[in-house]
């Protein structure tokens, strides 16, 4: 079926089988290969993209259901220059093989917005907010993104640094 996806502020009209996931539409039909296919079951977070500013697993989403949504991939985070998070991942060696990195960066981008919005997490002592980005909060809020190289010290340092640069 014919649909129009709005990805990184550009409209793309595609003829897709309804089975095509948002992830496969991005990678295989729009050549945006930054979003990665890891587990393809919503467990690893490598496919994380932003839909209307919210982070989701694009492997567990049908492309046809996202017509009219504003989809942002890792390619859309840098507008000529790298985003503060992307810079920080480089500065802090927030990766080894790099496979999970686009998902980590997209996820962290939205996670920091959730923090700004005062969303509590499972480890927040109070539901009233606001929350400090402690180690426990960072680990909890990023638990949907796995890194098989276990670069978590660098990833966490990068997210924390980007947060500080924003402040």
């Amino acid at each position: 079926m014919q649909i129009t996806l709005t990805v990184n502020e550009t409209d793309h009209t595609l003829d897709l089988d309804p089975r095509v996931t948002l992830l496969d539409a991005l990678r295989n039909h729009l050549d945006l290969a930054g979003s990665r296919k890891g587990c393809d079951h919503g467990q690893c977070g490598a496919c994380t993209v932003l839909v209307n500013g919210r982070r989701i697993n694009s492997c567990l989403a049908l492309a046809v259901m996202h017509e009219g949504d504003a989809i942002t991939t890792v390619e859309g985070l840098s507008n000529g220059t790298l985003s503060p998070l992307q810079e920080a991942f480089i500065d802090h060696d927030g990766f080894q093989c790099g496979y999970c990195t686009p998902g980590q960066i997209c996820s962290a981008t939205a996670m920091l917005d959730e923090l700004d919005a005062g969303w509590p997490s499972h480890v927040s002592a109070s539901l009233d907010g606001p929350c400090e980005l402690t180690e426990a909060e960072l680990a909890e809020r990023m638990s949907g993104n796995l890194c098989r190289c276990s670069c978590y010290p660098g990833i966490n340092a990068a997210i924390r640094d980007a947060r500080d640069r924003q402040a």
């Binding site: 079926m1 089988d17 309804p18 089975r19 996931t21 393809d40 079951h41 919503g42 977070g45 994380t48 839909v51 919210r54 982070r55 989701i56 697993n57 567990l60 989403a61 049908l62 046809v64 259901m65 996820s107 939205a110 996670m111 959730e114 919005a117 005062g118 969303w119 509590p120 997490s121 499972h122 927040s124 539901l127 009233d128 680990a139 909890e140 809020r141 990023m142 638990s143 949907g144």
Partner: protein, 324 residues
């Protein structure tokens, strides 16, 4: 994934009518359904998209909240009214899944999510829930995360939700629209079916029935606790969880409603447990007695033997916190 037709419903009436068709399934967040469709555990002929029906609002009603069926788990957990007056619900939601999944998963979908029994997922093994009459590979198999209450000789699968455990302790009601256009409501107590000899029938929903909202009545207890024990600190299903809604008056428990996760084929509640606690003065002996009542008749299967001592410790710990 098997081929299906995709239909975007314009309103709830059209959705219910389309949903009545053979092989039809509703899709909202899709985080569970698409996963199961990839594995061909579920293979609907038609998917009806119910995300554009305006069911994404949370509105105040009769001192409570009417939560639209497609309100996401994230939005529900972050709602200031829920955080203030129904904190056990925010806590349960935040204890489940990951940030990404909570942004997609919906209230109605969470209630209807399928078991994570590995044999239900593995189409090479028999499963009465997946294919009625086929047998149950979990019995005699790996049973670390199976039910010990309310099971049958045909199925020992768990209901995996955290949210629904809190909703059961909060006496929530589920509003359903039928293909005939009629609306009806179920208390959480009457919505789920025990497996018996029909483990493939999990709820009271008939073909074409669409969950339109969940009603959260005014809270009956101000002391609310959700505690979840799991294999990892985050992003894992409950081994055992407890949702407690308590109100204290003059040193005694005036209201007690306790929900349990990780123990049964449905979000569990035992009226005898609630009745034992209600009107009593909190004490270690009382809490132990409540645990005894909860676990009378529990049947374990080897891998899940630990759930009895775990629940026996977790319930008193939660009650201690909620009543002190």
């Amino acid at each position: 994934m098997k081929h299906f037709d995709y239909l975007r419903a314009e309103d709830t009436t059209a959705a219910c009518e389309a949903g009545f068709g053979r092989g039809a399934a509703f899709i909202a967040g899709g985080t569970n359904l698409l996963d199961l469709m990839k594995l061909e555990v579920m293979a609907p002929d038609t998917l009806i998209d119910v995300t554009r029906l305006g069911l994404d609002k949370i509105e105040e009603e009769d001192g409570g909240l009417r939560i639209g069926a497609t309100v996401t788990n994230s939005d529900l957990a972050a709602d200031m009214r829920v955080r203030r007056d129904w904190p056990v619900l925010s806590r349960a939601l935040l204890a489940g899944a990951s940030g990404q999944l909570r942004n997609k998963a919906t209230t109605g979908g969470n209630l209807l999510q399928r078991t994570r029994c590995p044999y239900f997922y593995d189409t090479d093994t028999p499963c009465n829930k997946r294919t009625p009459g086929e047998g149950c590979a979990a019995l005699g198999g790996e049973t670390r995360n199976h039910a010990i209450l309310g099971t049958s000789e045909h199925c020992i699968a768990l209901h995996p939700s955290d949210m629904a455990v809190a909703l059961r302790a909060l006496d929530a009601q589920i509003e359903v629209q039928s293909p005939e256009g009629k609306r009806r409501a179920y208390y959480m107590d009457n919505f789920y079916c025990l497996p018996g000899d029909t483990p493939h029938i999990e709820t009271m929903l008939e073909p074409g029935d669409l969950i339109t909202s969940v009603f959260l009545p005014a809270p009956k207890g101000d002391r609310q606790v959700y505690r979840k024990v799991r294999d990892r600190a985050s992003y894992a299903f409950a081994l055992v969880s407890v949702a407690a809604v308590i109100r204290m008056e003059e040193g005694k428990i005036a209201h007690a409603a306790i929900g349990f996760g990780g123990l049964a084929p449905q979000p569990w509640r035992d009226i005898e447990v609630d009745a034992t606690l209600t009107g009593a003065k909190p004490s270690a002996a009382l809490f132990d007695k409540a645990a005894d009542i909860l676990l009378q008749g529990a049947e374990t299967h080897g891998g899940d033997d630990f759930k009895i001592p775990l629940a026996r410790r977790l319930l008193p710990a939660v009650l201690e916190e909620a009543t002190s």
